[in-house]
């Protein structure tokens, strides 16, 4: 190969600067957010609408779940109305492995910020995050294996059913044949906070424990951001992988995909498992951030809220889902309340927080009717939604 050809090839493969300048810019802005947030919060007019770091953490966690849900709904085209089950599974995993819930056993490994003699299981939150992801993945497979054979709308109903059963199970799980698994409606609290312990603090300067640190909010924020970046990275890489292309093929035409030799069940189950994985991590991290897991947090509306993020942003488009997630997350955490109080001051008596799910419902309907590809739609999905697809179900039996 001569030099000229080599240069051409490198040029072809090198990313066009326009494709990465925007993400890099956003990441840089996001990383330095803690250093300038207070300045812009003091600015007139818009200052009231700027979310603080605590709110940002919640927004990022929900965006992370939306990106996970996007793997199932956006890539593979399987409507999951019970994603809240994965959130709950992750949160309770953190509650079991990093709190005093199981007082009968005392086991410590890498936990920080608590007395080493405290009863209960206390693992390092970093390990808990991974275990929660894996556990949720197993839950996802367990839900998926019997149900993924079903056609799209039946699948939606079954996932909805699981999304309803799991919170009720959690609520009633304080007396399972005499064993207190979930502590019922009270939930499990407190949950240990993340941290790196004394050794790593001395040698590398990483914080000992988040909760006891002075810049607690900032630490949680940066960690949440890193987790989101990890999720986004995995999500983008998955989309471009062999598995990701198989998902998109199934979404577009199940029959043709099967004819091309894509194993339907296995591919769909993977989408479930991987979507669940990120939901579990997000749930566990959020539980640790809030220092508690409460059954009242896991209701059906959360699943719809996450779905709304995906639809608003654009099914299948990672960047779209991030935008949708941050916008709706902001509205949910404090945006609607802020707008409400501004309206109140202007003399209009309307509480947007009361009607938040009506607002999300309206967003869903309006988007589906007028812009089904979402704000930042994926080009490939656009054709599918606008021209229609061959949507006949694959004959049952052959897909097993």
């Amino acid at each position: 190969m001569n030099g000229r050809a080599l240069i051409d090839r490198v040029r072809e493969n090198a990313l066009d600067w326009r494709t990465w300048i925007l993400p890099i810019g956003v990441i840089v802005l996001a990383v330095f957010y803690p250093s300038y947030v207070e300045t812009i919060q003091d600015s007139p007019v818009i200052g009231d609408f700027i979310p603080g770091l605590g709110s940002m953490v919640v927004m990022i966690v929900f965006t992370m779940m939306a990106v996970g849900l996007n793997i199932v709904v956006g890539y593979a085209g399987l409507l999951d109305l019970g994603y809240v089950a994965f959130y709950a599974a992750g949160a309770y995993m953190a509650a079991w492995l990093a709190s005093q819930q199981f007082e009968q056993w005392t086991f410590h490994f890498g936990s920080t910020g608590i007395s080493p003699t405290l009863s209960g299981i206390h693992l390092s939150i970093w390990i808990v995050l991974i275990l929660a992801g894996l556990f949720t993945m197993i839950v996802g497979v367990a839900i998926g294996l019997p149900t993924l054979r079903l056609r799209g709308d039946y699948l939606a109903i079954v996932t909805l059913g699981f999304g309803e059963i799991i919170p009720q199970f959690v609520r009633n799980g304080d007396n399972i044949f005499g064993f207190d698994l979930t502590h019922g409606t009270f939930g499990i609290s407190p949950i240990d906070s993340p941290g790196f312990g004394k050794t790593l603090n001395d040698s590398v300067g990483l914080p000992v424990n988040y909760q006891q640190s002075f810049d607690r909010a900032q630490l949680f924020y940066i960690t949440a951001l890193l987790l989101l970046l990890f999720t986004v990275f995995c999500s983008v890489r998955l989309r471009d992988s062999r598995l990701g292309r198989a998902w998109i093929a199934i979404r577009e035409d199940e029959t043709a995909a099967a004819a091309m030799g894509i194993p339907l069940m296995r591919t769909k189950t993977w989408s479930y498992a991987l979507g669940a994985f990120f939901g579990g991590i997000a749930g566990a991290f959020y539980a640790s951030f809030k220092s508690g897991a409460f059954p009242a947090d896991f209701y059906f509306n959360i699943s719809i809220f996450l779905l709304c993020m995906v639809i608003l942003g654009g099914m299948g488009s990672v960047w779209g889902v991030i935008v949708g997630g941050m916008v709706l997350g902001y509205l949910n955490v404090e945006g609607l309340a802020t707008i409400g109080s501004e309206l109140q001051e202007a003399g209009i008596n309307f509480e947007p927080t009361k009607y938040q799910f009506g607002i999300y419902g309206a967003i869903i309907v309006i988007m589906m009717l007028f812009r089904p590809t979402g704000l930042i739609g994926e080009r490939r999905h656009k054709r599918e939604l606008e021209e229609g697809v061959h949507d006949e179900p694959f004959i049952e039996g052959a897909s097993r």
Partner: protein, 331 residues
């Protein structure tokens, strides 16, 4: 799988029989509660089944239309005609009849409007799009109820006495439960007659079978679908009133009840009218027995888990339902 299913059914039968012998009076009373609840579920389930049969769409908003209709009926009964406990029997009967007609007419209109606004444009879009829209619509209707009636529970005065209408031994059936059954039966008869014997009903079944072919035969598909939604809305309206006569309700009552009714429709075989009623009665009994009986009962804490457990097992093991036929689309 079938052996396991039979074993489970046998276990339930044993459980019921033991309960029957231990507490016969309670069993009888609970049975009637189940019957009355099942009748309401049946009317709602029919709405799901009708719409699913013709559009293959799970109309999530249906449960919320039901709840809204009940709330509107409560204002109509209290404010517009002002029924009260000391009214004579004839006035009460006339009042309920009037409410039924007004609310059923109003909510057929509401349901037709929902179809027109939200679902018609998406008829050729991927099915997921319509389903997602239905979920969104459900929240909109629910919030309309929230906007008008706030978060308070609404009920009507007990102008139908809760005293017993008749009794067999110690088991008694209260008037307000009897009325529910007395209204449900003619409504069901009317619906069956409409679907099987009228021109429009036949057109509905034709469109459900093959939309394109029926269009070629000169059936006005759009109108037929509108009629279906109107019927479903009317049934939801009737169910709303009947529910209101027994319980109190608020804006979000329809969400869970809608899911239960949908489960009933799936249990009976979605798209199948008698299946929906059968499934609804079964679910009504299961719920009543679970919440009312005493010997080894999980109790009301677990009702939802049981109902959705049934839904999931039916979908996984027998997606065509109890009375449905196995079709390639049914899977």
């Amino acid at each position: 799988v079938s052996a396991l299913g039979l074993a489970l059914v046998a276990l339930i039968v044993v459980w019921l029989v033991v309960n029957l012998f231990k507490t016969p009076t309670l069993f009888g009373n609970v049975f009637f509660i189940g019957l009355a609840t099942g009748a309401v579920y049946g009317l709602v389930a029919l709405g799901y089944t009708l719409v699913y049969g013709i559009l293959q769409l799970i109309n999530f908003a249906h449960g919320d239309v039901f709840a809204l209709s009940g709330l509107v009926a409560s204002s109509f009964i209290i404010s517009a005609i002002g029924l009260d406990t000391d009214d004579s029997v004839l006035v009460v009967i006339g009042g309920i009849f009037l409410t039924l007609i007004v609310v059923m007419a109003l909510f057929s209109l509401v349901n037709v409007t929902i179809e027109l606004v939200a679902y018609r444009r998406l008829r050729h879009a991927p099915r997921l799009a319509a389903l997602i829209t239905a979920v969104g619509m459900s929240f909109i209707v629910q919030n309309v109820g929230l906007g008008i009636y706030d978060v308070d529970f609404r009920s009507v005065p007990a102008f139908i006495p809760r005293t017993e209408a008749f009794s067999i031994g110690d088991v008694s059936l209260a008037w307000n439960k009897l009325v529910v059954i007395l209204i449900t039966i003619p409504v069901l008869a009317l619906l069956t007659w409409f679907v099987t014997s009228t021109r429009q009903g036949k057109a509905m079944r034709a469109v459900a079978q093959d939309r394109d072919a029926s269009a070629m035969m000169g059936i006005n598909v759009n109108r037929t679908i509108s009629v279906t939604f109107a019927l479903a809305g009317a049934l939801a309206g009737a169910a709303g009133i009947l529910y209101l006569l027994q319980f109190n309700m608020r804006y979000d009552t329809g969400f869970e009840l809608g899911l239960i009714a949908f489960t009933a429709a799936v249990l009976g075989g979605i798209g199948n009218l008698s299946g929906a009623v059968l499934g609804a009665l079964l679910i009504g009994f299961i719920q009543a027995f679970n919440e009312g009986l005493t010997w080894y009962t999980p109790g009301s804490d677990w009702t939802r888990t049981i109902v959705f457990g049934i839904l999931i097992s039916i979908l996984v093991f027998r997606p065509e339902g109890l009375l449905g036929e196995r079709t390639p689309e049914g899977g």
